[in-house]
């Protein structure tokens, strides 16, 4: 099959970028989207041109490295699917495909489709530690965890930090990411001692990183390759409200990072 690509090319963080057109011929419908880009890049290299830079690692949809706006949707047209697990059979012969990097002030473009997602790392860091015993493994059921809590925590913990929620949000908000992280620890008994401090610190860091705020468009939930629910955002807001109401000056315990 043949597709026409309009790819965002930007030489560096401060360089001006623009969409550049490429014709990709002889593409197999069985190729993944990233394999298609690999083929385009090989041909660019043969022609002596600079290949298209994009992030990728595991290519099996679990690492969160890849991510790009494909035809105006984060990770492309397929639900619950990262860009690496999207296949060219999702497109038709002769299709035009627009490819752009995630767009947010907090995610500056490094090159072409690669953005700096360090802001996510700093939100995680702000969450600090949990007072869980380390060392040798405990008995499996030493800490009883309700089925409901275990399920909700696991659903939230599925977040791979790819940034699609921010990319798809009309406000470039990181609410779904932050809420997923707050929920997956806040639901478990191990996460209770620092739960309030964590909610305050992570929400605060989210604002420092210049992300937008949540207006509940729901675009993040739709874009999330792991199907994280906006229910987590309600959970984050509740924890934040409760934490702010019960916060005492100088009562902060524990460190961060």
């Amino acid at each position: 099959m043949k597709v026409v690509l309009h790819v965002w090319r930007q030489a560096g963080p401060s360089a001006a970028g623009s969409l550049v057109d490429y014709e990709a011929n002889d593409i197999s419908p069985e190729m993944s989207f990233l394999e298609m880009l690999d083929v385009v890049n090989e041909r660019l290299i043969v022609r002596g041109e600079v290949p298209i830079a994009f992030d990728h690692d595991c290519r099996e949809g679990i690492c969160g490295s890849c991510g790009m706006m494909i035809n105006g949707a984060a990770h492309g047209p397929m639900k619950l699917t990262t860009a690496c697990q999207l296949h060219m059979r999702s497109f038709k012969d002769g299709d035009e495909i627009w490819i752009e990097p995630w767009r947010a002030k907090a995610f500056p473009v490094i090159k072409d489709l690669v953005v700096d997602r360090g802001a996510f790392d700093r939100i995680i860091q702000a969450g600090g530690f949990v007072s869980a015993p380390t060392g040798s493994a405990q008995d499996g059921n030493a800490i009883p965890i309700a089925k409901q809590a275990a399920d909700e925590a696991m659903d939230a913990a599925a977040c791979i930090g790819c940034g699609a929620c921010v990319a798809a949000c009309p406000n470039a908000s990181a609410s779904l990411f932050t809420a997923a992280k707050i929920t997956h620890l806040g639901d478990l008994p191990q996460g209770q001692p620092e739960r309030m401090r964590r909610a305050l610190a992570m929400v605060h860091q989210m604002d420092i990183e210049t992300f937008g705020s949540c207006t509940l468009f729901g675009e993040c939930q739709e874009a999330c390759p792991k199907g994280i629910s906006i229910d987590t955002i309600a959970r984050m807001n509740w924890d934040y409200l409760f934490a702010a109401a019960t916060e005492r000056q100088g009562a902060e315990v524990g460190g961060t990072g």
Binding site: E222, Y240, L241
Partner: protein, 221 residues
């Protein structure tokens, strides 16, 4: 100087959004009550004027308490909305060449401009029917006659109906989002589903609209 807890709450995007949700719910409760009260219009002049007298004279202290609460709610709601909008605009300085909304509703996308329309509507409405300043033939105590004459001007009635259209959109998103923002919505398999907000968004603006419509269409003169 350590900033106070309240100040930090307001300065955070989540805190500000919670303020918007809480004040929004106060305003939702108000429009439901206001609409229900208005329906007494269809019980005739005596009943409607008596209702007006009750609010304006008999329980005027309570009315003022309500007015102050509503004014404070609107002010907080609008300031928070403005500041969050500015924050959100700044969060994406370079926009996409192509972005396709997947699930966002028309109601969600019109929250801001619809809110501006309502913000222009509210002062006009107060100057029209409460103080009578912008009313062509205002008679204090004659609420029924004031409504009939007020809506006989076509553009005024249309302006009111426009406000109700935006109110419907605002309620459809807001009455659902407020519960989620405040964290009191129950987890759902379909979080975008909103039966209660749909009912409020249809019933409240429809009930309000019956007044201008009945006058415009000549059912009440």
């Amino acid at each position: 100087m350590e900033r106070s807890g309240l100040r930090r709450f307001w300065d955070s995007s989540v805190g500000k959004k919670i303020v918007m949700g809480a004040t929004g719910l106060i305003l939702v409760a108000f429009v439901i009550g206001h609409m229900a009260g208005n329906l007494q219009f269809f019980s005739g002049p005596a009943r409607f004027n008596a209702y007006s007298h009750l609010l304006q004279v008999d329980v005027i202290e309570l009315t003022w308490l309500l007015r102050v609460t509503l004014l404070a709610s609107v002010v907080l709601h609008v300031i928070a909305a403005y500041q969050l909008t500015m924050q959100n605009r700044a969060a994406r300085p370079a926009d996409y060449v192509r972005r396709e909304p997947q699930v966002s509703t028309y109601a969600a996308r019109t929250m801001r401009w619809g809110g501006v329309y309502l913000l222009l509507f509210i002062p006009y409405h107060l100057l029209h029917f409460t103080t009578g300043t912008l009313h062509p033939a205002f008679v204090r105590g004659e609420a029924y006659g004031n409504v009939v004459i007020g809506f006989q001007t076509m553009w005024v009635a249309l302006f009111y109906l426009g406000a109700m259209a935006f109110l419907a959109l605002h309620l459809y998103h807001g009455a659902w989002a407020a519960f989620r923002t405040l964290g009191i919505a129950r987890p759902s398999n379909d979080p975008l589903h909103r039966r209660l907000a749909l009912a409020i968004a249809v019933i409240v603006p429809a009930g309000f609209s019956l007044l201008p419509l009945s006058v415009m269409l000549g059912f009440i003169r």
